[in-house]
């Protein structure tokens, strides 16, 4: 049985202008020890999905339907008390370093120790700090920087600290939300390698959220492409990368320059993302899709399987999609 199974999950936000359909009817599963990456432009719902998995949506956010089965139990049925125990201990999150993820008035090691002590009351402070030391060693932060405040850390160090914090309770699943955005390329590379080795070493399952498909392809076994709140393509990275089926995926891939391979023109994707408060009928990508047909406006979405592990959500099935 998979560690995480999400079925028909839909969620959104109540705004002054109406209900915003942030995520619509998303289903996927994640095996133990594997990593799944979600790629999409901003506003596609990937961050919302990540937050929802830990039930951390803001007060105006609501999960309308679906099931989130973690280790067989539906997280949506859990009480607040139960969720608090699950959070960090079973499922942890790696935030963007660029965010204010660490409290500026408390020392870094205290904040990590706090995570440890919350879920393991039998430890005392000294033991918790010892564990923090080990974690720091693991992620490569010098010991003498442990007692510093967050603002004294560089971007890369902050990211490492956040990773260390996520590992603190040895969770089974880590959700990494844009962990390398806003870092310079060299540091980005280091962090990614770090994440990959940690994942292998501890066998942690991972959900990796990014707008950059090249990073996700590097790090994850499987990739899910999201557009306007819907999951439009899902498969192993090799298949999605070398054999993209959905027009959006194809457009995404061709908008990135490559060092190897033949030189081809970069194709930006024309148009804008649709309004999610009043989403368009039918396929949400139809206004920007080069292969759009009349049926895309009214047709029913069907999952088309290019291979057992590779499926695409497109209104036109069959050979036309390729």
């Amino acid at each position: 049985m998979a560690l995480l199974e999400v079925e028909n999950l839909s969620m959104g936000y109540h705004t002054q202008k109406g209900y915003l359909h942030a995520v619509e009817d998303v289903s996927f599963s994640l095996e133990e020890g594997k990593s799944l990456g979600f790629v999409g432009e901003s506003g596609c719902g990937k961050t919302t999905l990540g937050m929802a998995l830990m039930r951390l949506l803001p007060p105006n956010g609501v999960i309308r339907e679906g099931r989130m089965l973690f280790d067989g139990a539906d997280l949506l049925q859990k009480s607040d008390e139960e969720m608090r125990e699950i959070r960090w201990q079973k499922i942890a999150m790696i935030f963007q370093a660029a965010m204010n993820a660490l409290n500026p008035v408390h020392r870094v090691h205290e904040q990590i120790a706090e995570a440890i002590l919350t879920h393991n009351a039998s430890l005392d402070k000294k033991e918790a700090f010892e564990q923090v030391e080990e974690l720091f060693q693991l992620v490569g932060i010098p010991r003498d920087r442990m007692r510093d405040y967050p603002h004294q850390y560089s971007g890369g160090m902050k990211q490492r600290a956040i990773i260390a914090m996520a590992l603190a309770c040895k969770p089974r699943l880590i959700i990494a939300d844009e962990p390398t955005t806003a870092l310079d390329v060299i540091v980005q590379d280091q962090i990614l390698k770090e994440i990959m080795s940690l994942q292998k070493e501890f066998g942690i399952s991972m959900i990796f959220i990014s707008h950059d498909i090249s990073i996700v392809a590097d790090v994850c076994h499987d990739i899910g492409i999201m557009y306007a709140g819907k999951l439009v393509e899902h498969g192993s990275r090799e298949e999605v990368f070398s054999n993209p089926a959905h027009p959006y995926t194809k457009a995404l891939l061709s908008s990135y320059p490559t060092l190897t391979g033949e030189k081809s023109r970069l194709m930006p994707i024309p148009g804008e993302t649709p309004n999610l408060i009043h989403p368009p009928s039918g396929c949400r990508f139809r206004d920007r899709c080069p292969a759009a047909k009349a049926a895309c406006k009214t047709g029913e979405a069907v999952w088309f399987e290019t291979s057992p592990r590779h499926k695409t959500l497109c209104y036109q099935c069959g050979a036309d999609c390729r």
Binding site: Y13, T15, Q16, L20, A22, T48, P58, N60, G61
Partner: protein
């Protein structure tokens, strides 16, 4: 937004018109703002009505009115709705006159400090470097001083102060707050394309400041005026209360001084309560107004539900 639209925005020199309209809509929704405005309207009416009593009968003159039949402090009656003070003068007409003085003092002091603060803020922001540093240091020093006590010292040296001197001194001590905000705004405007364009066209600094920066900064000034008004009224009231007000002006603070100094504090609630309530309420009104203005000025404070 298409390229054309954003281009037009840059050339538009008076975007504040739209902001003003938008601001009014937001303002109308705010409960505090509505209450504040209603209170202020009430006081304004009081101020206007202050001219009426002396016209009815000279004994209702707040300062010099003498009731032939009453020469001491009496409670409310048909003749004198709020009673009389220790000299037999009508308390209600004093109260109405006080409203007039409060507005006068508040608005003039606020206005003067706005003029000063805007001018200094613009110059400091636009000139930058030494001028800026000097002016802002001056502003810092002035902000530290307790205004009321400074006026006291000046009263000691220059004798009894008139209401206008008091207003002027208050304005001289309230401009730093305004200048900071205006300076920040000027700094952000300084690098806008239309300013660059004016500079390239050969406009002198003065011309740029007054013809180009000022119109964009002025609405902000006026909005901030609401904050200045309260403190001016309170300072004048406090000074009058201590006995340093203008003896020829009937203000609420002066009324409190009379109640206090003539020992009627405990005996005449009809005299003690109204002026204090008025000062407190008008302060409350302007405070609420200021908070509503806050929402207009700072979009982050608006009650819009967020989106992810």
């Amino acid at each position: 937004m298409s390229l054309e639209k954003s281009h037009k925005r840059h050339l538009k020199k008076f975007p504040w018109m739209d902001r003003l309209r938008g601001g009014w809509t937001i303002y109308k929704r705010n409960l505090l703002g509505r209450i504040g405005l209603s209170l202020l309207v009430m006081f304004a009416l009081m101020a206007i009505c202050s001219f009426i009593p002396p016209l009815i009968d000279p004994m209702y003159q707040p300062m010099t009115g003498v009731d032939p039949e009453i020469t001491k402090s009496t409670g409310p009656s048909l003749r004198h709705w709020l009673g009389t003070d220790f000299m037999g003068r009508d308390i209600l007409s004093q109260l109405l006159a006080g409203a007039r003085v409060a507005f006068l003092v508040g608005v003039s002091a606020a206005f003067m400090s706005i003029v000063l603060g805007t001018a200094i803020g613009m110059v400091a922001g636009y000139m930058g470097r030494l001028v800026d540093t000097l002016l802002m240091r001056l502003a810092d020093m002035i902000m530290v001083m307790p205004t009321m006590l400074v006026v006291l010292m000046l009263a000691a040296l220059f004798g009894q102060l008139t209401i206008w001197t008091i207003v002027l001194i208050i304005a001289l001590f309230r401009w730093p707050g305004v200048s900071r905000v205006i300076r920040a705004q000027t700094l952000s405007l300084k690098h806008r394309p239309f300013i660059e364009a004016a500079r390239v066209a050969g406009a002198s600094h003065t011309r740029i400041i007054f013809r180009h920066i000022m119109p964009n900064v002025l609405p902000l000034s006026f909005l901030y005026m609401t904050f200045r008004v309260t403190s001016a009224i309170i300072i004048e009231a406090a000074l009058a209360f201590l006995g340093f007000g203008d003896p020829s002006t009937v203000s609420w603070g002066m009324m409190l001084q009379w109640v206090w100094k003539t020992g009627h504090m405990f005996k005449a609630p009809y005299w003690l309560l109204p002026p204090g309530i008025c000062i407190s309420l008008i302060t409350l009104a302007f405070y609420m107004l200021g908070r509503a203005m806050d929402e207009v000025l700072d979009p982050r404070l608006r009650k819009e539900a967020g989106t992810e």
